[in-house]
């Protein structure tokens, strides 16, 4: 019997055990690794329809919710102060609307010079230290971590603390480690939210906490979400993109030759790599879709890595093809929860990847791809370390 999720064996392909889920049946009820049953969705139209359907809920406190998450994530996502990513409208919308002005295309355009500076400074430091190195600690992680901490007004001097705590929460190693990491990070953010340095947190405090629209606890959990979502994901995308491009030298050559191809290439990397493999929901009403009925209270798992390889949405979907039209991928989700930071992530990827290949032309992997240790299931997909040289 097929189960979900399953461990990847290649950093850029969905688990081979998912083959059965790719026969064209858009959704089916199967048993998850935690013993619950849920509808696992691999069809592109159905995934988008469900993610945009108001009868579909992101509320983790619903008994039928498919809880395939590490324990510390579950604790944060079911706490009374849980962030808006796990709430439904209108509560979700109320907080999201406080934030969208910070992430508009125009704001991102204004941030580009700063992001570019961060990218080049990070490469300078990496080059000065010399090869070989671990690309994750030398480049992939510091770039988004610096960018998000500056945007939020979180002191970057604390980056080792918040990076490790975030990783401990998302990874859920032992219960003791993740409980302590959660408490430490919530404590840190609560203190920061009371007297924030200049930045997004301070702006939220002035506009919404000081006016009584938001509590300090809500601000702390919102900031925690932005900080965590803002660095782990983008870091993983940078690392996996580097692996994938180095493994496809002809595509890399085209990518380097023409800066005009970068935005479309980044969409293809997002589609192909789908680092957030599953988007979790529960039905709050009966939903008839593709000849089945999802009953109220049943769990829904959008298998994004399979949706992004649906044959009726992408030609020859397992082919990595930087020239294809891939913008309709669901790597950032769909519907009202679609990634708030997607244009920040795009800006970082558009700037970081070409600069890295430009300034380190001899960059190559220092270990074979099949020897890399891959992140376990229920985490943001990727690797924790990437030995490289040049």
């Amino acid at each position: 019997m097929i189960t979900y999720p399953q461990q990847r064996t290649c950093p850029y392909h969905p688990a081979s055990g998912y083959e059965e889920l790719r026969d064209g049946t858009p959704l089916r009820k199967i048993r998850l690794v935690n013993g619950q049953e849920a509808w696992v969705v691999s069809g592109h139209d159905q995934a988008r329809a469900l993610l945009a359907d108001p009868r579909v809920s992101a509320d983790r406190t619903n008994a039928g919710f498919p809880m395939i998450v590490p324990p510390a994530v579950k604790a944060v996502h079911t706490s009374p102060n849980r962030p808006f990513i796990v709430r439904d409208d209108p509560e979700h919308n109320r907080v999201r609307r406080m934030l969208i002005s910070e992430f508009t295309i125009r704001r991102l355009r204004e941030m580009r010079p700063d992001i570019e500076q961060v990218v080049h400074d990070t490469i300078d430091t990496m080059l000065a230290a010399g090869p070989p190195t671990d690309l994750v600690t030398a480049f992939s992680l510091p770039v988004p971590s610096l960018v998000i901490s500056r945007l939020l007004g979180v002191p970057y001097a604390d980056h080792e603390f918040f990076e490790k705590a975030t990783s401990d929460i998302l990874r859920g190693r032992t219960p003791e480690v993740s409980v302590k990491a959660t408490q430490d990070l919530i404590g840190y953010m609560t203190a920061l939210a009371q007297d924030p340095p200049p930045g997004l947190i301070a702006r939220l405090k002035a506009d919404h906490v000081d006016t009584g629209a938001m509590t300090t606890d809500d601000l702390a959990f919102t900031a925690l979400l932005l900080l965590g979502a803002g660095h782990e994901t983008t870091a993983s995308m940078i690392t996996l993109s580097v692996i994938t491009l180095l493994e496809h030298p002809e595509q890399l050559a085209a990518f380097r030759a023409d800066p005009g191809t970068v935005p479309a290439s980044v969409e293809e990397l997002l589609r192909y790599l789908t680092i957030v493999e599953s988007i979790l929901r529960v039905a709050v009403d009966d939903i008839a879709i593709a000849d089945v009925v999802i009953k109220a209270g049943e769990g829904i798992v959008i298998a994004s890595s399979l949706v992004n390889r649906a044959a009726d949405a992408f030609d020859d979907p397992d082919r990595f093809d930087l020239g294809r039209e891939a913008a309709h991928h669901v790597a950032f989700g769909y519907g009202v929860h679609q990634c708030l930071g997607q244009n920040l992530a795009r800006a970082e990827l558009h700037l970081a990847l070409p600069a890295l290949f430009d300034r380190v032309p001899g960059l190559r992997l220092a270990a074979p791809v099949d020897e890399l240790e891959l992140r376990p299931i229920m985490t943001i997909q990727g690797v924790d370390a990437l030995p490289v040289t040049w």
Partner: protein, 63 residues
């Protein structure tokens, strides 16, 4: 073709602005603003694409 941006349902993802920057913008609050409601014939394809990529259904096409 006539385009509308529903400011109540917009979630500010900016996909419309990315896809058809001559037709859509976001206001200071990050909410969709349609720059011209009657796109030129040459713009209709990207406007249609913006409507399918909009995650919230806020981009509405009336023909």
């Amino acid at each position: 073709m006539h385009v509308e941006g529903d400011r109540e349902v917009c979630v500010g993802a900016g996909m419309c602005v990315l896809t058809a920057p001559d037709v859509f913008d976001q206001d200071d609050d990050g909410i969709v603003k349609v720059l011209h409601e009657q796109p030129d014939a040459g713009e209709e394809d990207v406007v249609r694409q913006a409507a399918t990529l909009c995650p919230s259904g806020a981009v509405k096409l009336l023909t």
